[in-house]
């Protein structure tokens, strides 16, 4: 990460672009359990994408593709809200 000096920051307490914390704050180490999706049974209803508090569900063209494991803290909300129960929380082994 390229750390800015004080005189390189924008004025005020702002970050002048959106969604950039994913590149800065890597949280994969926070997880005890990680979500694993069975894409064969997934209905692509997008409930997990809506509910994920960390924008860690990868989606393209209306399809659920899996998880961004650098951004996922392993909170388990996606598994809880999945209406067809195809997301399983699997213990991390480190």
């Amino acid at each position: 990460m390229n750390e800015q000096k004080w005189n390189e920051l924008p004025e005020g307490v702002i970050v002048p672009e959106g969604g950039n914390s994913q590149d800065v704050y890597i949280v994969e180490g926070w997880r005890t359990f990680k979500p694993v999706v069975n894409l064969e049974k997934c209905t692509h209803c997008m409930t997990c994408w809506v509910m994920c508090p960390d924008n860690a569900v990868n989606v393209k063209g209306g399809k659920m593709l899996g998880f961004d494991y650098l951004a996922c803290k392993g909170c388990g909300v996606c598994a809880e809200v999945c209406p067809v129960k195809v997301i399983e929380m699997v213990k991390e082994e480190r």
Binding site: W6, E11, G12, V13, I14, V15, P16, E17, G18
Partner: protein, 392 residues
């Protein structure tokens, strides 16, 4: 045009002339009438301002902050406990570079409950990062209010600003003052400069009020600290433009008979007027005395103070607030810091006077100058801090 108005009414009139986009306020003595009169202008359709009558000062400053970050011209008014209740939002407004102008009719803090003139409220806000202008008279309060908008919003500044004047002594006094026409005020101020990023600008989205931990917090704060260096130049530029419009010229400080003064009293707000009157009296008795009045307290004008006190032999700083458990009053601490490494510094002493609205009389001021002369005889102020006008 001349009008005779109570200062609070006059400031409400100034706000009508400024016509901010948003005013969010909660009334508190002794600044109540500013909000009360302004809300009447809103109700009567004299201004198009969005007036937000909130449930507390904390909410008032929160609403002002969001409005200001969206690029609006924003004002509010408060005092004492109200300013204290805004405290955490004051820090956020300054660090977020939200140029809100807040009118403060300075009043004592509780306990005991007291509604009268005292500088404890604004002095309590001195580390929040807000700019501060102070006014001796109704005329200065009016002129400072208009200039504060232009200073705060200047792209080289973009900090919030307090406009101070003494509760009751000034806020409820009727003075004849010279005011501008509405049109003159509006053309002097122009439109509020558009900030580079604003909350409602969906074309250029930005995250506001972000989290910055060990890796970035210090850089944000260092950048903020540096930004105050531009402020003095802008204050003087705005004063220059205002003088062209009105003939009334303001500086960073007001120096009264300092050139040959041996003993100098440093004062703020209404007591400076009493002090100048006392100087005239003592000068007739051949005493070489003078007054230094602080107009711009934040950012603290270190160089100007060194220069203004350069010829003095003995300086008494009068604080209308105290730093409880600290070494002295707050203004004294800062003046002493400004002079600490100067080679030929004057003797320095501190008096605490006028707390909770106690009158600061000409006799009190004479006594204060006496302390300054006695220090010259003895070679030092002993004690460093004296309370004046208190029964003992």
């Amino acid at each position: 045009m001349k009008v005779a108005l109570e200062t609070n009414q006059l400031i409400a009139l100034a706000m009508k002339q400024i016509e901010p986009h948003v005013v969010a306020a909660y009334p508190i003595t002794p600044s109540t009438e500013v909000v009360q009169e302004f809300s009447q202008y809103v109700a009567n359709g004299d201004v198009k301002t969005e007036f937000v009558p909130v449930e507390s000062e904390h909410s008032a400053m929160s609403a002002c902050l969001a409005a200001s970050l969206s690029g609006a011209r924003v004002m509010t008014a408060t005092a004492s406990q109200g300013l204290a209740f805004m405290w955490e939002m004051l820090h956020i407004a300054a660090a977020s570079r939200a140029p809100i102008v807040t009118i403060v009719a300075n009043r004592a803090l509780s306990a005991p409950i007291n509604i009268h003139g005292d500088h404890a409220d604004a002095m309590g806000a001195r580390d929040t990062g807000w700019l501060q202008l102070w006014a001796e008279t109704a005329q200065e309060a009016y002129d400072n209010t208009i200039q504060a908008i232009k200073i705060a919003e200047d792209p080289r500044v973009r900090f919030p600003m307090l406009v101070n004047y003494d509760g009751f002594t000034t806020s409820h006094a009727v003075e004849t003052v010279e005011i501008l026409e509405d049109e003159q005020v509006r053309s002097f101020l122009g439109a509020a400069p558009k900030p580079k990023y604003s909350l409602l600008d969906t074309e250029n989205p930005a995250s506001f009020g972000v989290l910055a931990l060990q890796d970035y917090y210090m850089e944000f704060r260092r950048a903020q600290a540096e930004a105050y260096k531009n402020v003095k130049d802008v204050v003087l530029e705005v004063a220059e433009d205002y003088a062209k419009l009105t003939g009334r010229k303001y500086g960073i400080l007001e120096e009264y008979k300092l050139d040959d003064a041996d003993v100098v009293l440093v004062a703020m707000n209404s007591a400076a007027g009493t002090a100048k009157e006392t100087v005239d009296l003592l000068r007739k008795q051949g005493k070489k005395v003078g007054v230094l009045k602080i107009r711009l307290f934040r950012p603290f004008p270190v160089e100007e103070i060194r220069c203004a006190l350069g010829n003095a032999k003995s300086v008494v700083v009068m604080d209308r607030a105290y730093t409880y458990g600290g070494p002295s009053g707050p203004l004294f601490e800062e003046i002493a810091t400004a002079l600490v490494n100067e080679k030929n510094k004057p003797l320095l002493g501190n008096v605490i006077a006028g707390l909770g609205g106690r009158d600061i009389t000409m006799e009190d001021i004479e006594h204060v100058f006496d302390l300054g002369f006695k220090a010259l005889e003895k070679g030092n102020f002993e004690p460093l801090v004296s309370w004046v006008g208190v029964r003992e």
